[in-house]
Amino acid sequence: MLKFLTRFTMVAVLGAGLQMSARAADETPDVLIKNATNEIIEVLKTDKAIQAGDVKHTQDVIESKVLRYFDFNKMTGSAVGREWRNATPEQKTQLAKEFQALLVRSYSNALTQYKNQTVDVKPFKAPAGDTEVTVKTEVKQPGGKPVTIDYDLTKTADGWKVFDVYVAGVSLVANYRDTFGQEIKTSGIDGLIKSLREKNAAKVIEKK
């Protein structure tokens, strides 16, 4: 069961890493995921620094190639739940920033453990008018069981963006919802921002 936590943190990022092109806004979500995934795998195969475990470099790669295809505002709002409505715009910005940092740090650590996984994007069919879709993929690894990764995408003015990732059926956003909920109950939204900031800062020191 815990095995899936590896993929849970690692492969979520394999979902979105495209060069921003004029066609991006027109791309169907499954093509977007397919291209993004292939590009990330290419980088993982060729980038020696990532293979050597250079976490800072991996984070930079993720920030430049991947983040644009996630809608972090929507993700954070979903993870925070009901209290999001009560947050000030400043708090919302802070929360999204810290949550993004947390996820980037976790995934970059996980990505440095990449070992020849292959990703298979499943056939995609959704009614043309849908603004929220799910793209299913499967990650296969030599010597291990395949894991399903599903991406939920929403259509924005900038094209499709990922707002949730399901690894082995577990929603990334929902998994944080309870933890965030408890934190907000005990110390409010500012308390949550503070905890996230501390967690992110602690990791930075650890890596040095």
């Binding site: 069961m1 815990l2 095995k3 899936f4 936590l5 590896t6 849970f8 943190t9 690692m10 947390l102 996820l103 740090r105 976790s106 650590n109 996980a110 453990q113 030599p142 010597g143 069981k145 395949p146 399903t148 399901y166 082995a168 059926g169 577990v170 929603s171 929902a174 998994n175 944080y176 919802r177 309870d178 933890t179 965030f180 408890q182 934190e183 109950k185 905890s195 996230l196 967690k199 990791k203």
Partner: protein, 286 residues
């Protein structure tokens, strides 16, 4: 007739003492409806982490370092193969006979062609492994989750899944190895093998979690729901009163596809059997 082994009795004792402990500690904390025994669970989680870091993890790391990947995969496959029969039975009990046929097919192919389960030939022939256990069967029959429980040594469960786990352990063929030292060694190897599989996942847990305990709990509960529903997403109201899973309507196309896969796999595995797969079926799979 096999005697009930000492470890099954001690497992039941552990669970009984856990429940006693929980009731002594006072149940409801009110903070999380899914985890009314949180204070006790957290203590047991802390205990498990100590046992793990002092004893199990070092052994698993040693195993990981010493045993080459093919050996670790082979060992893992052998244990996994043995479970396929029980998985098939659970599928049957849950009203999924075609999936059960696929599981038995897996066991047959892997035990023969896969040399006693060392090689997972069945997956390569298209028969994917299912994950089922008695706890999921109970859930499909309508038994609710019950409180979240952190078991000493065994890790997270729901109360219902603890019962399921007891049944899974009781029927495991490993329990029927009559030579006690051999049985204990086999059990030990299984535990170490599974722990070694989790080494990299543990690092991921550390990085991703604000609070390891609640992250693990939420992950476990979500994962169980997903397994019970076989990966189908079921929309649940946020303040739903009951944990009972929504009625799962079998997907006829998936089921028919499953049975076709079994025939094709058998045909490829044992050409001498001359399993007759109609041409249109073969075509529909390619």
């Amino acid at each position: 007739m096999p005697r009930v082994s000492m470890s099954k009795i001690s497992l039941l004792k552990l669970i009984a003492s856990l429940l006693l402990l929980a009731s002594l500690a006072g149940c409801a904390t009110g903070s999380n409806p899914k985890d009314p025994w949180e204070p006790v669970n957290r203590k047991i989680f802390a205990f498990n982490q100590k046992v793990d870091s002092w004893v199990l993890k070092p052994i698993a790391q040693g195993y990981d370092a010493v045993a080459p990947l093919p050996v670790r995969t082979g060992v893992s496959n052998v244990f996994s193969n043995v479970e396929d029969v029980w998985i098939g039975l659970n599928n049957l009990l849950q009203g999924k006979p075609l999936q059960a046929v696929s599981d038995i097919g897996r066991f047959a192919i892997n035990t023969t062609l896969g040399v006693a389960g060392i090689f997972d030939v069945a997956t390569e022939l298209g028969l994917d492994k299912h994950e089922e256990d008695f706890g999921q069967t109970l859930a499909v029959w309508g038994v609710g989750d019950g409180p979240y429980v952190m078991l000493p040594f065994f890790g997270p469960r729901t109360l219902r899944d603890t019962g399921g786990f007891v049944v899974d352990s009781a029927v495991s063929p490993l329990g029927y190895i009559s030579d006690i030292p051999a049985r204990n060694i086999t059990r030990g190897v299984k535990v170490v093998s599974e722990r070694a599989d989790l080494l990299s996942a543990e690092k991921a847990l550390d990085d991703a979690a604000l609070d390891r305990y609640s992250y693990l709990r939420d992950f476990y509960l979500s994962r169980r729901k997903s397994l019970i529903n076989d990966g189908r997403r079921v929309r649940v109201e946020e303040d739903a009163r009951t944990d009972a899973p929504a009625l799962v309507v079998a997907d006829r196309d998936v089921e028919i596809g499953q049975s076709r896969l079994v025939f094709v796999a058998l045909d490829r595995a044992y050409p001498a059997l001359h399993v007759d797969v109609p041409a249109p079926v073969l075509q529909s799979l390619n």
